[in-house]
Amino acid sequence: MQLQTQTRPKLISVTVIEDRIDAATAIQFKEKMREVTRNGPDRVVLDLARVQFLDSSGLGAIVAVKKLLGPDRVLELAGLTPTVEKVFRLTRMDSIFTIHASLEIAVSHAASA
């Protein structure tokens, strides 16, 4: 599970360099996310633009990361591909995250804030 992180003023972005987050990698994803977000800005943007497939284990891991960050930090999502978007929508987990069309748009939101 490869994650690419970039710390900017006021936000840290994490890009998943894998085409799937599934039952075989969900726990590893959660642990890596815990490591890379341990310190840093309160706002975390998870870039899923390269992820073509997410199952319920992967979805559960993303929700778990939101919980790990705690109430004072925020996890936002960017770049959902069609199947990933469908899994979020059908489980209504799209309602608990701010979702941006792309990482660039998420970053520009920060700049204007």
Partner: protein, 150 residues
């Protein structure tokens, strides 16, 4: 109790046996998606098929064979309305010999109470038709239709 119907023996059908574990499930999914009948579907319908089959097979790996990988047979048959799927394993029966309802976990509570699981059967129910489960002869037989559009 009626056994689930045998899948039609279509020439383009795909039959596959795997040992259910998360990595074997992933390999099998990639294999199934790359061959007919699933490779003939639209990208959207292929995505749906991958989600449903991933949930079904990972449930078997996790709950039917909790002690370690066991055999699962998958038959995919193209029919007019979409793809008929039959999945058979020899593991533990579903609780109460019934299909789980797939009720969506409640997500409107506080951060600490957000659900991290319980999504799988909801996805399966949402994305399939004619979902049926039979426990017979020490086997679980799950059958469903993946609609052509969806």
């Amino acid at each position: 109790m009626q056994p689930a119907r045998e899948s039609d023996k279509g020439a383009e059908g795909l039959h596959l046996v795997l040992q259910a574990s998360p990595l074997a499930v992933r390999d099998s999914l990639l294999q199934m998606l790359a061959a007919p009948p699933l490779s003939d579907l639209s990208p959207d319908a292929r995505g749906t098929a991958e989600v449903v089959l991933a949930e079904v097979l990972n449930n078997i790996a996790e709950h039917a064979y909790p002690a370690g990988p066991g055999p699962v047979a998958v038959a995919l048959t193209p029919v007019a309305a979409g793809t008929h799927c039959l999945v058979i394993d020899q593991g533990a029966a579903m609780p109460g010999d019934r299909l789980p309802e797939g009720r969506l976990p409640i997500a409107d509570s506080g951060l600490e109470d957000l659900p991290e699981g319980g999504f799988g059967w909801h996805l399966i129910h949402s994305l399939t038709r004619d979902l049926a489960y039979v426990r017979a002869g020490g086997c679980n037989r799950l059958s469903f239709l993946l609609p052509r559009t969806g």
